[in-house]
Amino acid sequence: MKRYLVSAIFMLLIINHLVSQEVDFEEYDLDNGMHVILHQDNSAPVVTTAVMYHVGSKDEDPQKTGFAHFFEHLLFEGTKNIERGEWDKIVSSNGGNGNANTFLDRTYYYETFPSNSLETGLWLESERLLHPIIGQIGVDTQKEVVQEERRLRVDNSPYGAFFEVLLKNLYTKHPYRWAVIGSLEHIASATLDDFKNFRDTYYVPNNAVLVVAGDFEKEKTKKMVSDYFGPIPRGAEIKRTVVVEDPITTTRKATYYDPNIQIPAILLAYRTPGQAEREAYVINMISTYLSDGESSKLYKKLVDEKKIALQIFSVPIDAEDYSSYVVGGLPVGENSIQDIKNEIDAEILKIQSELISERDYQKLQNKFENNFVNANSSVSGIANSLAENYMLRDNTNLINTEIDIYRSITREEIMEVAKKYLKVNQRVELEYLPEQKEAN
C-alpha cells in the first residue's frame, strides 16, 4: 500500500511537469480502484462529469449479444434515490444536458452543467454505479425502446447495416464479430438475472474512470469525489481473455441487400492494428490522404474528374484489440461498383509503391494539426478524450502528445504500413446492393 502511494505521488509530479501544455490534468485512483481524472479550466462556468466503463459489446456472451448497449439504456431508468422518469428532469432543471453511448470496448455516460451544479453530476453518476434499479418495468420499457432504435438506425436506415455486415465478415472468432446493438432475440429472451449478473461483473468502480472537467475548485472536488464514489465497494477482478484472430489470407467476398437504398455501394474493409498502436495512427493518415476534403485523392479523381462515383468515403474504426479500416464508394450513372473498386485499388497501389508527395505530406500534417487544436475546444470533448486515452490507449497524456506521433510518422512509414495492411488478399469485399421490390 505504501509503495503504491509513493509511486502514485511520484507519477503525479511527473505528469504535472510534463503538462505545462494545452490540457492540464491530474489523475489518481480511489481505494476501491476507480480511476479519477481532473481537468481544471476556470475560463467558463461549465463543468462536465463523465464515467467510462471498460465494457462494450466485445465483453458479451455470444449467446447474449446487445447486453452492453442495453445496459446503457437501463441505467437511465432510475436508482434507489432517483425515481423512474426523474433522471432527465433533474438534469434539465439544473440547466444541464447529458447522454450516453456504447461501442465495442466501452460504455460512456456524461452530463454537462453550469459549474454550480457539479455536485449534482457527481451524485447522479455515483447513484448510477451504486444502486441502479434493475427491475422488470425498466427492462420491458427499454426492450421496446432498443427495438425501435434498431429499426431506426439499422433496419430502416439507408446503408444502416454496413458496419454489422463488415464486422461479421472481418472477424470469425473475436467478439467484435457481432454488432454493438446485438440481437433483438437475445435481448428479448434475457432474464432479470442475466442483467443483474452483467451489472455485478462490469459495473464496478475498479472497471471505471471518472472524469471531471471544467470550472471547479480542486480540493473541494476531490473531497466530493471521495464522498460520492469512495463508499462504492470494489468488485471482483475482471477476467479478460484476448481472442487472437487468424490472419485473412484470401479475399472474403460478401453481398448484402438493403431494402432502403437505391444506389449500390462497394466497401473494402481491412483488419488493422488496435488503436493504441503506432500503425493505427498511420492508417488514420492514409485515410485522410485518400478521402478527406474536396482535394483528397479519391474524391478529386472519382467524384470530380472522372465522375464515376456519387460519393466516396474511407473510415478508420478505432477499437482496442483490432481496428477496422473501410474504404468504398457509390457509383453514379452507368458506372459499376467494379469501376470504383478498380480506381480505389489503383490509388492504394500507388501509396504502396511510391512515396506520397512532399506537398501532400505537408497537407496531412496541417490537417492533423488543425484537428488536434479543434479537438480540445470544449470541456465535454476533453472529458471524453481523457477517459478514452486512459482506458483504451493506456496513456491519459496522449491528449497532449498525440500530435507528436503524427508529426513523427514519415512518408516511408506510410508506404510500409499500406503495404503491410492494405493487401487485396487480406480484406473483405462487400457488395452492398439495393433489394428491389417487384415492379408489378
Binding site: P45, N81, K223, S226, P264, E294, E334, S336
Partner: protein, 690 residues
C-alpha cells in the same frame, strides 16, 4: 501486525470521510457562477464595414465571420436567385480557379464558405492571414460561370421536383405562404417556373445589389492580435465598394379575422401536418422578450413541455409536438404550434393544440414549470459562454438589435425576475386562440369529414381550401354522385372497348414486355412475359444483373431473390396465376363480383374506384375510361403498405392500347418505368417458364 494497523487506520479514515452526504435528495446547486463577458474591440472601414475582434489565445486557431444584416430580400418572379447565388459563391475567385482554391484551403487544413449574405472561415492561427485573404477574394471577386450556374440550377430544379409529393415540404411551404403572404420575402414560393426564369445575369445582379458593405459586420475571433487584424482587414476589405442595398416595402403580414382551418389536400399523405399559427411582433429589445420565450418553452419547447406531454405522452397521437416563437426587427413573425399526427386523430389534435394554447393564456403556469423553464434558459446561457463565438454573437446582437449595452450582463437577473403573471401576459399577447390559422396538410378523403365538425370554445371552425401553392381552391369532391346508368360492368366494358375490344383481347395468347427505370443514376430493367396458360415470368435486373425473378408454369413456380431460389407455396401460385392474366378485366367481367366504390381523384383526373378484392382496387378515368392506377395493400412484417401502380401514355401495339409509362409508388419509393418494347403473340417460348 503492521499491515493490520495500516489497514484499520485506513478504514477508519474511509468511514469518517464518507459519512457526511445525504444521497436521498438531489444536491442543492451552489451560488450562481460569476459571468464574465468580455467586450470585443472594434474598428470601421470607410466603406461602412464594421469589424469586431475577440482575442482568445486559449487555442492557436481563428474563426472569422462576415454577416450582412440586410432587410429580408423579396425575390419575386426570380425566386430562387438567392439560393443560386449562394451555391455559386465560395468556389474560387476571378484569379483563382475552383480546383486551386479547394486545394489550397484543404492544404492549410482550413475551411472557407461564402453565401449570398454571409461568409465564414476557420483555420490555425498561423494561416490566418492567407485564409482571410482567400475568404475576402472569394467573397468580393467571385467567379460566376455559366457551367457552374447550369449545374446548380439543375440541382435546385431536381430538389423542387422531388418535393412535389413530400407532405412535410409542401406543408411548411404553405404554412409560410399563408402566414406571410406569397409576396412577402418569408412567404414567397420558389417554383420550377421562377427558377427557370433566373439567368446568370440575374445572379450577378443579385450579388451586386445585395453583397454590399452598408450593413456588414466582420467578426474575427481567436488567437489573433488586434493591430494585425486591423492591418489585414483594411488591406483585403478596403476594395469593397461602398454601397447600400435597394429597399422596398411589402404588405405587413396580418392575422386572420376568425379561427379557421386552412386545408391542403395531399392524397398520398399517411400523416397530417397540423400547424396552429398566428402573427407576433416580437423584438429582442422588447421588455417582455424573455417572458415570451419562457411562455413558449412551457407550452411547447421540448419533451417536458405541455404539447409533448399531452399529444405524445398522454394521447400517443404523435412522436413529437412543439411550438416556436420568433423575434425579428424587420418583420412581424409567425408563432406556430404543431405536430405530425396520425390521419384518424387529425381533428382531435387540432382541438388539443388549440386547447393547450388557450389554457396557457387563461390560466397561470405552475411555479415548477416556470422554475424548470428558467433553469434550462439559465443553463444554456451559462454553458454557451464556453464557446468564444458566444461573445461575438452577443456583441453583434447588441449592435444589430439595438439592445441596451448591459443586455447580457443582466440576462440572468432579468430571467430570474420573470413572474408567473408575466408569463401569462406574454402568452395572451403573443399566442392567439381567436385569430388562429390552423394549417392542415393531409389526405382529405380520410380526414376532412371530421375536420369539418371541429368546434372550439363553442364555435365552429370553418375549413377553407388551398392548393399546394397556397392559392384558394374548391373543396375537393370525393362524393360526386355516380352518373345514371354507370355500373362496375359498364366501366369494365368501356375500358375493354377502348383499349381494343373484347375480341381483340381474347385473341392474345402471349405477351412480352421490356421496360426500364432509372433511379438516381442506376438503371433497372424489367422483363415480363405472360400467356393464357397460366405462365408468367418477371425478371428485374440492376445494371444487367438479375436481382429478382419470379416464374410460374401452370401449377408450379418459384422465385429467386438475393441469389436464393424458393418454390412457390400453393397460396403464392394462386396469387401469381391472377397476375398472369394479360387483361384481368376480362376475368373481372366474367366473375361479375366487382363492386363500384365511388369517384376519387387520381392526380388531376377523376376516376371510378372498383373494388376487386379487400386488398386491391382499380381506378378508371370517368371521362376516357382508361385504367389510371391499381392500388394494392400489402402486409410486410406486420405493417400495411400501400403499393400503387399508375398507368400513363397509352400507345397502340397490334391494335391494342398498352400503357407505356408505369409509375410504381410504395412508401417513399417511387419508380418510373418506360416501356421499351411490347410484343403480342410473339417473343415468348415455352422454355421461358422453366
Amino acid at each position: 501486525m503492521k499491515k493490520y494497523i495500516v489497514f484499520s487506520l485506513f478504514s477508519l479514515f474511509a468511514t469518517l470521510s464518507f459519512a457526511q452526504i445525504d444521497r436521498t435528495q438531489p444536491p442543492k446547486p451552489g451560488p450562481a457562477p460569476q459571468i464574465n463577458l468580455e467586450e470585443p474591440t472594434r474598428f470601421e472601414l470607410k466603406n461602412g464595414l464594421k469589424v469586431m475582434v475577440v482575442e482568445n489565445h486559449k487555442l492557436p486557431r481563428v474563426s472569422m465571420q462576415l454577416i450582412i444584416d440586410n432587410p429580408p430580400i423579396l425575390q419575386g418572379s426570380k425566386a430562387g436567385v438567392s439560393d443560386l447565388t449562394s451555391s455559386l459563391l465560395g468556389k474560387g475567385s476571378e484569379t483563382i480557379s475552383k480546383d486551386d482554391f479547394y486545394e489550397e484551403v484543404d492544404f492549410l487544413g482550413a475551411s472557407v464558405n461564402v453565401s449570398d449574405q454571409s461568409a465564414s472561415a476557420s483555420c490555425l492561427s498561423k494561416y490566418f492571414p492567407r485564409i482571410l485573404e482567400l475568404m475576402a477574394d472569394a467573397a468580393l471577386n467571385p467567379n460566376f460561370t455559366q457551367e457552374e450556374f447550369d449545374k446548380e440550377k439543375e440541382r435546385i430544379l431536381t430538389n423542387i421536383k422531388s418535393e412535389e409529393k413530400d407532405v412535410s415540404a409542401i406543408a411548411s411551404r404553405v404554412q409560410l405562404a399563408l402566414a406571410y403572404g406569397t409576396s412577402h420575402p418569408y412567404g414567397e414560393i420558389t417554383s420550377e417556373q421562377t427558377v427557370n426564369s433566373v439567368t446568370l445575369a440575374d445572379v450577378e445582379k443579385h450579388y451586386r445589389d445585395y453583397f454590399v458593405p452598408a450593413n456588414a459586420y466582420l467578426v474575427v475571433l481567436g488567437d489573433v492580435e488586434f493591430e494585425n487584424v486591423k492591418t489585414l482587414v483594411t488591406q483585403y476589405f478596403t476594395p469593397w465598394s461602398k454601397a447600400v442595398p435597394p429597399s422596398y416595402s411589402y404588405a405587413k403580414p396580418k392575422d386572420v379575422q376568425y379561427n379557421q382551418i386552412n386545408f391542403v389536400d395531399m392524397p398520398n399523405a399517411v400523416q397530417s401536418e397540423v400547424a396552429v399559427q398566428n402573427i407576433t411582433e416580437l423584438k429582442m429589445k422588447d421588455p417582455d422578450y424573455l417572458n415570451a420565450l419562457l411562455a413558449n418553452r412551457i407550452l411547447g419547447g421540448g419533451s417536458q413541455a405541455r404539447l409533448f406531454q399531452n399529444l405524445r405522452e398522454d394521447k400517443g397521437y404523435t412522436y413529437h409536438a412543439y411550438s416556436g416563437i420568433r423575434d425579428n426587427k424587420y418583420s412581424p413573425m409567425r408563432f406556430n404550434a404543431g405536430a405530425q399526427v396520425r390521419n384518424t386523430v387529425t381533428d382531435s389534435s387540432v382541438v388539443q393544440i388549440l386547447s393547450e394554447i388557450d389554457r396557457i393564456t387563461k390560466e397561470p403556469v405552475t411555479q415548477e414549470e416556470l422554475t424548470n423553464a428558467k433553469a434550462k434558459y439559465a443553463g444554456n446561457f451559462v454553458m454557451a459562454l464556453e464557446s468564444p463565438e458566444t461573445i461575438a454573437e452577443y456583441a453583434l446582437n447588441i449592435e444589430t438589435e439595438d439592445l441596451p449595452k448591459d443586455f447580457y450582463k443582466t440576462y440572468l437577473e432579468r430571467l430570474q425576475a420573470v413572474s408567473i403573471a408575466d408569463v401569462q401576459n406574454a402568452a395572451k399577447k403573443y399566442f392567439s386562440t381567436s385569430n388562429a390559422r390552423v394549417v392542415v396538410t393531409g389526405k382529405g378523403s380520410d380526414v376532412l369529414e371530421n375536420l369539418e365538425k371541429v368546434t372550439f370554445n363553442g364555435k365552429a371552425v370553418p375549413v377553407l381550401f388551398y392548393d399546394k401553392s397556397a392559392n384558394k381552391t374548391e373543396k375537393p369532391d370525393y362524393s360526386a354522385p355516380l352518373p345514371e346508368g354507370v355500373t362496375a360492368q359498364s366501366i369494365l366494358e368501356k375500358y375493354i372497348d377502348f383499349i381494343g375490344g373484347k375480341d381483340k383481347l381474347e385473341g392474345v395468347n402471349s405477351y412480352a414486355m421490356i421496360a426500364e427505370a432509372e433511379t438516381q443514376g442506376m438503371k433497372l430493367e424489367l422483363e415480363m412475359k405472360k400467356t393464357t396458360k397460366y405462365q408468367f415470368l418477371q425478371d428485374i435486373k440492376v445494371m444487367g444483373n438479375s436481382v429478382q425473378k419470379r416464374v410460374l408454369d401452370g401449377d408450379k413456380g418459384y422465385a429467386i431473390a438475393q441469389g436464393q431460389r424458393e418454390d412457390f407455396s400453393e397460396e403464392e401460385i394462386e396469387k401469381v396465376k391472377e397476375e398472369s392474366a394479360a387483361f384481368p378485366e376480362l376475368n373481372y367481367l366474367a366473375a361479375g363480383n366487382i363492386t363500384i366504390e365511388g369517384i376519387e381523384p387520381v392526380g388531376d383526373r377523376k376516376a371510378y374506384k372498383l373494388k376487386i378484392t379487400d386488398k386491391k382496387s382499380c381506378f378508371y378515368d370517368t371521362e376516357t375510361g382508361l385504367k389510371l392506377q391499381v392500388v394494392n395493400i400489402e402486409e410486410i412484417q406486420g405493417q400495411q403498405i400501400t403499393n400503387t401502380l399508375g398507368f400513363h401514355d397509352y400507345q397502340e401495339v397490334s391494335g391494342i392500347k398498352f400503357p407505356f409509362k408505369l409509375v410504381q409508388t410504395a412508401g417513399p419509393q417511387n419508380l418510373e418505368f418506360t416501356v421499351k418494347e411490347i410484343k403480342v403473340n410473339e417473343g415468348v417460348e415455352a422454355t421461358d417458364f422453366e
